[in-house]
């Protein structure tokens, strides 16, 4: 599971994340909504240990990500907005390499099974990544999460730039992972996708978590209103 306790990151005078308290349990999907610069990606980068917090703590499965960086990464899979893989390697080779890096030695059959489970078409398995669309690459990322038997999935704008079909397929894959008990934290601008896949939704602004909802207790229109209110977009529009 993912927990942050008064997590703060300052870049000089600018506070990117401000006393953030989060908790994502097994089988939960928390979607963080917010404008650019709200602090969503910085939060994810701190959970990955890429950035050291100024204060507060970030924990994965109860382990501090800074003190136990390598250990926590064993259970994390990270899919950024643009998942970049090795273009001259095939999907199978990429999966084999990244899983291997994470300490998972898998047979070709298992690798194939994970790619299938991630929804990638079989004829693409042996094709080089340079021929893949963004949606196909994201599926390889999900296959990696499956191959790693990941416990925590961190997603940074994963559906941005995907066509509706690919975005829908990606949402379905997240549901599958949720059922497997994976704790998922997704930063997104996509309210519709957030409402569709999330168990919990948070709205961030200026590094703070301004509002948090249980997804099933709020309609899409209410979410939209809450989001616009939080961002002060309504006043700006009027």
């Amino acid at each position: 599971m993912i927990t942050t306790d008064k997590l703060t990151k300052k870049f000089g005078d600018f506070t990117a994340v401000d006393n953030l308290d989060l908790s994502v349990k097994e089988g939960e999907i928390l979607c963080l909504l917010g404008a650019n610069g709200a602090g969503k990606s910085t939060t994810i980068n701190m959970l990955l240990g890429f950035i050291k917090p100024t204060s507060g703590t970030a924990k994965i499965n109860g382990l501090d990500v800074i003190k136990n960086n390598l250990k926590t990464k064993e259970s994390i899979t990270y899919i950024p907005e643009n998942l970049m893989l090795y273009p001259s390697l095939t999907a199978l080779e990429n999966l084999d390499y990244f899983a291997g890096i994470a300490g998972k030695e898998l047979s070709p059959q298992m690798l194939t099974d994970f790619l299938k489970e991630a929804g990638l078409q079989e004829e693409a398995f042996q094709k080089r990544i340079s021929t893949f669309s963004k949606g196909m690459r994201q599926k390889v990322g999900i296959a990696l999460a499956l191959a790693k038997d990941t416990k925590v999935l961190l997603l940074d704008e994963p559906t941005s730039g995907l066509d509706p079909k690919a975005s829908n397929e990606f949402g379905a894959l997240l549901q599958k992972l949720k059922k497997k008990g994976v704790a998922i934290l997704m930063a997104t601008h996509d309210l519709f996708r957030a409402k569709e896949v999330a168990t919990h939704i948070g709205i961030m602004k200026d590094g703070k978590l301004r509002q948090q909802f249980v997804a099933e207790n709020i309609s899409l229109s209410e979410l939209e209103t809450a989001y616009l209110d939080t961002m002060n977009y309504k006043e700006a529009l009027s």
Binding site: L48, F50, N69, L70, K73, E74, I76, T77, Y78, P80, N82, L83, M84, L85, Y86, P87, S88, L89, E93, Y97, F98, G100, I101, A102, L154
Partner: protein
């Protein structure tokens, strides 16, 4: 992680068309260079054998002749062609292939390959050492300049870091992937060379040990380049910058530093000009005993000394021909003069060489080149060794001839002629070049510097991986 990354990198490198083409070109060039060199050296060696045999036959068949006339007639000492000169021809091309041995005079080696070539030779030859010293480091740059920068540029580094890579293990995987093709090419070259050399007839004594030492020196050289190129790739923000920086290092290390070192060494410890050298020798000769001049002050002193030693009052009463005796003493005096002046040249060369070697700390090319030429027996030290051996043989020959003259004739008997079969009694010029152990011991400083380059560059590379 190391193995996984090694396989992944190797696949990527092999699938990159640019790399395949470069690799093929280098292997082709190496093949052509070895083939050209093997043919060239086989031809030269055959010519040497023919010339050596012919010259000895001429010497042996002089017929009845005065020994001192034979001394002036002279003969040649032929420099053997060493098997590993096929890999590194060093200074062989410029220093001459044979030395004319005659009375009263130490000659320099002549008939160098460079002297027989046209101005086109300024473009250089396609030889294995050119490929080994210049082209393979370029190949390393082409294969490795973007090894780390591409990960940043493609965005794969983020995913890798999120997977929990151990930086030094990951970097070592990349290191081995870059080292492997270089190892394959170098092994291939040395294996082919070894097979070619061990199958060439009359090509001198070939030792696999020397070839293996040479192989290790070059592998060390490439390890240094791999370390430097990967270090730059780690530090550079973009592939283009990494390429420019790596090429700059290559230019500095392989082109600029050797030339600058050469200029500095020659300026600090200059050689005398040929005229100066000849004039200094002549001056010393004029101040000593001239074997041909019985009336000089020095000759008269020698005469008095010999008469006193043998307790006689006339040189006619000596048990040998005093003319020949004086001739021999004159030879010994001249040999000392040559020894003194050549020794000065050797000292200057040694100082130049030491300065050159101390500059090896700025370029791994320098210790590698020194060791390569030394192990191939094509450096100046090997040439000096041959030249000294030829001079020893010249002195021994003069003594052999003068002794015959002195013991078989009497004073003033210039018409004396040695028997026709006498010339065959002169032993052949039998030169053995220094052994590998002696060469390595002489070049220990280059070995240490090369070792330091390997250790420091690798340490720097590994430390820098912490910044990933």
């Amino acid at each position: 992680m190391i193995t996984k990354t090694f396989y992944k990198e190797s696949k990527e490198l092999w699938r990159d068309g640019r790399v395949r083409i470069t690799f093929t070109i280098v292997v082709l060039l190496l093949g052509i260079a070895v083939w050209i060199s093997a043919r060239q050296y086989q031809n030269i060696n055959e010519q040497h054998q023919i010339a050596q045999k012919a010259e000895r036959e001429v010497w042996d068949n002089q017929g009845e002749k005065n020994p001192h006339s034979a001394a002036h007639y002279g003969t040649y000492a032929f420099k053997p062609k060493y098997p590993l000169s096929l890999v590194d021809q060093g200074v062989d091309k410029y220093v001459g292939t044979s030395i004319f041995l005659e009375a009263h005079k130490r000659n320099e080696a002549q008939f160098s390959a460079a002297a027989d070539q046209t101005g086109l030779s300024r473009f250089g030859d396609l030889t294995p050492d050119f490929i080994l010293l210049f082209i393979i480091p370029l190949l390393i740059i082409l294969l490795g300049y973007n090894s780390f920068t591409k990960e940043r540029e493609m965005g794969t580094l983020t995913l890798l870091k999120s997977q929990g890579i151990v930086p030094w293990k990951w970097a070592l995987g990349k290191w081995t992937a870059l080292f492997f093709p270089v190892l394959v090419i170098t092994t291939l070259l040395f294996l082919i060379t070894g097979i070619v050399l061990s199958n060439l007839k009359d090509f001198g004594v070939f030792h696999w040990g020397s070839l293996f030492s040479l192989f290790l020196v070059y592998i060390g050289y490439y390890i240094i380049f791999i370390n430097i190129v990967l270090f730059i790739s780690l530090k550079a923000s973009k592939s283009g910058i990494a390429l420019v920086l790596s090429l700059s290092v290559w230019i500095l290390a392989c082109l600029a530093a050797p030339k600058a070192a050469s200029n500095i060494a020659e300026t600090k410890y200059p050689y005398p000009t040929r005229q100066e050298f000849a004039s200094n020798v002549l001056k010393d000769k004029q101040n000593g005993l001239d074997g041909h001049n019985p009336w000089s002050k020095e000759s008269k002193m020698l005469e008095q000394e010999v008469l006193a030693e043998y307790g006689v009052d006339s040189i006619h009463k000596l048990p040998f021909n005093f003319d020949a005796y004086r001739m021999q003493k004159g030879e010994e005096h001249e040999a000392e003069i040559y020894f003194k002046h050549y020794n000065y040249l050797k000292e200057q060369y040694s100082k130049q060489s030491n300065l050159y070697q101390s500059l090896a700390i700025v370029s791994p090319y320098l210790p590698t080149r020194f060791l390569s030429m030394a192990i191939a027996r094509t450096d100046y030290t090997a040439h000096w060794d041959f030249s000294d051996a030829a001079e020893d043989y010249r002195i021994a020959t003069q003594k052999f001839l003068n002794t015959n003259f002195a013991e078989n004739s009497s004073y003033g008997e210039w018409g004396y002629k040695a028997d026709a079969d006498f010339w065959e009694k002169l032993p052949d010029f039998d030169y053995t070049p220094p052994e590998l152990n002696a060469i390595l011991s002489t070049n220990a400083s280059s070995l240490y510097i090369l070792g330091a380059w390997i250790a420091i560059s690798f340490g720097l590379f590994l430390i820098t991986t912490k910044t990933i």
